[in-house]
Amino acid sequence: MRYRLRFLIFLIVCAISQPVLADFELNLNKGLALYLKKDYQGAVKFLEQALVENPNSAVANQILGLSLLKLKKYPESITYLEKAKSLDPKIKRIYLDLGTAYLKIEDYNKAQVELMEAIRQEPDSGLAYYYLGYAQYKLGNHKDAAASFDKAYKLDPDLTLQSRFYAGLSHYKMSNYERAKEEFAFVGEFGAGTDTAVAALQYLDIITSLTKRYYGGVSTGFQYDTNVAVEAEDVDIVSDKSAPRAVFFFNIGFNPYLKPDAVLGGNYSFYMNFNKDLEDFNIQDHRINLYGVKKTTLGGTPVSFFLDYFYDIVLIDGTPASHLFSQSHSVSPQAAFQWTPYTSTVISYEFIYNNFKDFPERDAANNNFTIAEVFSICNGRLLLKPGFNFEVNSAKDVANTFNFDYVAPEGFLEALASLPFGITTFFEFHYYRQDYYNDDFNRVDDQIGVGVVVSKRLYKLLYLDLGYDHISNLSDTDFPGPNPFEYDRDIFSVTLTAKF
């Protein structure tokens, strides 16, 4: 009797429990089969059902987490992967999976912790080293990142191209240019035809230019200007005439002191143009720059200091100035703080002293205070730079002339996008309000400007730029008759530049 009772209970338990476990096993395998067939949405359906039947299955939680990772549902993915880890901390590759998921949500600190554990458990995983290197790189820990990338491709040759590219990038960020060049040169050759190789060759060019003591360039091109205006520093005088013109530019520079973290140098540049039928607007501009740069860290934050001085002289044909029009001196210190790999703050001040030979009322001490934020988006493919500038111009008082004292708050936005086929696009917008507060005619100017430039590298040293600019200068003044300061202007440009 006792035996029969036991047997009956056994049969009942079997009848209730086994189908549930069998269903779980079947749903788990259906989910796994769909995952293997890359049908991640289908896999999720069966794995969720499997977890209803057995919520404490570590492997079902893990594969569901991975399926959601593939579907880019990162937070949900992390929830299941974390649960899998808590259910079975020794389950195969869980730390690598979690590290990958944290990389996806850009939580590089957590990714680093998981990936270090993944390596501790599986020291021969090249992929774990590769992802760890990426997390370290993103955290700005370039030294460890370079070491991790080295290890990654040595353990897993399939990761060679990517690992050596990022190893090069890590060395580049540390200003270890020789080692970076080695890596980029290898990637450029080994991965010929890939996007990675293209990027590597671009960095190789940059390193070459950064390590050159001599540099220079020549530009030539055409512009069509719907309203030729003077904008020599703070002069804005309008012709109300359109003109095509040829432009020419030349510069040459030398860096006598050139270290990865500091530079002292100088350069000379020359610009001239020829306006058709507006010879009085033809100018030549000579400029000499002296500059110094120092890169350092303050409290762990990378900071760059920049100091520039220039002397500028503008000559004009056919004006009362008899060739000499103006001279300027400028001193400009600047500091850039890189808070994160994606954001930095730029603070600068510029003092300019302008001296106009025949227009003493325009002689002025000009001060510019600027603050801007730089956002790096899409792995540096898009840069946004909104900023604010405050300008104070203190001009000389000259009897019976305009007074050119003014203050001008300005807001601006710049955007730079790296597009496919080696094309770069730059966009700029600015608005400022110049209040001539000492002017007898109560002059106030509101200027809006937009500009777009599309650049394409045609050959190694040769670039083609296509540009369009529009400026609207609205001026309000009690000056009788037509306002000489109000104008609209469109400029279309085509230039070819050779840089060496």
Partner: protein, 264 residues
């Protein structure tokens, strides 16, 4: 044209079409009937005369013959949602597999070793899923059972119709019972816990995540940015040279005109 010749040409044309159709049918790739979802140890499959090592994700075709080595095992999910776990030192093949919305029919042989089968119920039409050992055939219609090629067949769930290949007997095996197909007379006995655990452990193949290569992903390449084009890679450092012709900086070239005249 002579009518006979016309008919002859037509016949040749039809014959050619038939040859092309038949050849094309033979040339078509066979469709898989299942997939390997888990592997333990060393497992090989002989498929279309070729032997290959079995991995997770390997497709299973009609006529495939699986062989597991010592301490090995494989789990296969068929398209009709039949799941089998093959234990160590086993030999298994699939000789018939039909699965349509209204019919399910399959015939597999377990020549050696042990297997666990989970067979989904099929209520849309005819169903006949059979597993054959060297001396018996078990027909299943939605159940979980364990089969040992050396004789034992045990039911964990559902029922199974078992017949000896020599027609010595047939028997309907109920849930929770085992039968030894080598015995001359069917003698069911309880599928006790000890035996069940033994079967489970001998046919256990744990599911695992796919190997690294199958889900490797790389972050996108990071292209040089404006920051890299400035002297030291720090964002915001202005170019050493403000190129007047470079509208990139949003500055128009310097022009000049006469000073506006003051009112008299």
């Amino acid at each position: 044209m002579d009518k006979k010749i016309e008919i002859r040409i037509l016949k040749i044309f039809v014959l050619l079409l038939s040859v092309i159709w038949v050849t094309d049918s033979y040339a078509q790739e066979p469709e898989p009937i299942g997939i390997v979802t888990a592997v333990k140890g060393e497992v090989v499959v002989v498929s279309a005369g070729k032997s290959q090592v079995v991995e997770k994700g390997t497709s299973v075709f009609l006529g495939d013959r699986f062989e597991t080595k010592e301490a090995s095992g494989v789990k296969i999910l068929f398209d009709d949602d039949t799941l089998i776990s093959l234990g160590a030192n086993a030999n298994f093949d699939i000789t018939e597999f039909v699965y349509t919305p209204k019919e399910r029919k399959s015939y597999s042989n377990i020549f050696k070793g042990k297997l666990k089968a989970i067979v989904q119920k099929f209520e849309r039409g005819d169903s006949n899923v059979e597993f054959a050992t060297p001396n018996a055939v078990a027909g299943i219609k939605g159940t979980t059972q364990f089969i040992d090629a050396d004789g034992d067949i045990c039911m964990d769930d559902g029922v199974s119709f078992i017949r000896r290949k020599d027609d010595a007997w047939d028997f309907t095996l109920e849930v929770g019972l085992c039968i030894n197909t080598l015995e001359r007379v069917p003698m069911p006995r309880p599928f006790d816990r000890e035996l069940r655990e033994k079967f489970e452990s001998e046919t256990e193949v744990k599911e695992e995540v796919p190997s690294e290569e199958e889900f490797e992903e790389f972050p996108e390449e990071e292209l040089p940015s404006e920051a890299d084009l400035t002297p030291f890679g720090a964002p915001g450092i202005p170019p050493i040279l403000q190129d007047p012709t470079d509208v990139f900086e949003g500055k128009t070239p310097v022009d000049v005109t006469v000073n506006p005249q003051l009112p008299q």
